[in-house]
Subunit: 235 residues, 2 copies
DNA sequence: AAGTGGTCTAGACCACCGT
DNA sequence: CGGTGGTCTAGACCACTTC
């Protein structure tokens, strides 16, 4: 399908990831890029803007477009994140299901989902395993009125892949609240940590493009293995 | 000076913060806003885009522009952050200076700053105090070739205010690496915590709009008092 | 079908950087 | 002063939602 500026951004992103341009070097000028992709200036700038937001490049008025130096290795980009599998760039992600059931929204959940009391929700508790090592524990709820069906096979793999590619839903935006939390004894065991250890905790509220909340989850990450990176642009 | 789309975004942001529109309600249509501010569609959309990025609103094709529900209270927005004073929305922020000296960049610092070995750097160690309670400990370096002068008065208050309003520098972007870290005995004392407690830690690399790194810092936050919020838009 | 947001163009002019 | 990015316009047409 033909949304030009997104396609161009994808091409440039791939070029950058493949190492076509090195840190600190210049991209072609906007004018050259306009000619190369045969688009207008605004369209070209929309494509560039996406790459700026993702933290790949920065623009300097009167000078050019530069590759932005960024530490990427070993960190999870918190603003791009849609599920672990994609972010960690390894297929070696699986889940051990600790709980899988349907519950009804209590007052707290109804508030978080902005839904009615007693709305049916899927509750999924998973130990996330990366490269055969325990990585995080995830407690998630899905609004059953939106995600009408889930099974063990789906949640053993990638729920997000199922939602976007199976159900063809469009994920719009999310709020992530990050803090540092104590682990319960059970969590310590599952993550193979020591008693009294803390975890990086992320509470994630995820919306479809139409503004409906379909997922509220909390993940606790092994604090020895996990760093988040966040890329900020000031305007 | 007259950058229309930014001015319009500021006006709308203020309206939203003042509660002119309530959560879930609609903003006027783009067409109405174009007429109201007497600008073209692209300009109007640029203004709206800024508010989308900041997490105030979301757009639904064919339907309208809606106020985005967001938990703001008590959380620090990690992607907007430029210094504590502004973010916490209280003037009651001050600093106790633990160290203030000029050092030369060793190998590690030179790498982080992308500067030469032995480049002179200001080193500032501060206990940040909010509402008379210890809030965080900040270890920061500033490239002395860019920030040529600092004194105790400046660093007791807001360094960022001095850089943007005093020196008239434009801050462009930043990388923030977030993790969970142990505290030293000294840090535990300063933050009035218990031995063995962990802290939320943020390592911040800050660039001017021209791509120069002027500040590399690490802040350790009292994990009982601090939550970060990050607003993500998927595209 | 009408309303509303999304994409794209072609061109004008401004602002900043470096020579 | 030439090169390069930044802002803005006016208008066309597409895509999705709502009734």
């Amino acid at each position: 399908m033909g949304i030009k500026y997104k396609e161009i951004a994808d091409i440039l992103e791939e070029d950058i990831l493949k190492g076509k341009y090195i840190e600190g070097s210049k991209l072609p000028t906007i004018e050259e890029l306009m000619k190369k992709f045969d688009v207008s200036k605004n369209t070209m700038r929309s494509a560039i803007e996406l790459l700026v937001i993702k933290g790949y490049i920065y623009q300097v008025q009167g000078s050019g477009i530069f590759i932005r130096p960024t530490v990427r290795e070993g960190s999870i980009n918190i603003t791009n994140m849609r599920g672990l599998s994609k972010e960690l760039n390894t297929p070696d992600v699986r889940s051990e299901i600790l709980k899988f059931e349907v519950v009804k929204a209590n007052k707290e959940l109804a508030k978080k989902f902005r839904c009615n009391l007693d709305t049916e929700l899927y509750y999924v508790e998973r130990l996330r395993i990366v490269k055969e090592e325990p990585f995080s524990i995830e407690y998630s709820y899905f609004n059953k009125e939106i995600i009408t069906y889930l099974n063990r096979e789906i949640i053993e793999n990638s729920i997000y892949e199922y939602i976007t590619e199976g159900l063809k839903y469009n994920i719009g935006f999310a709020d992530k609240i990050i803090c540092c939390e104590k682990l319960t004894k059970k969590e310590v065991e599952l993550l193979e940590l020591k008693n009294g250890d803390m975890a990086l905790s992320v509470e994630n509220t995820v919306y479809l493009t139409n503004g409906l909340i379909f997922d509220v989850s909390k993940s606790k990450y092994n604090s020895n293995k996990t760093k988040f990176i966040s890329v900020a642009n000031y305007r």
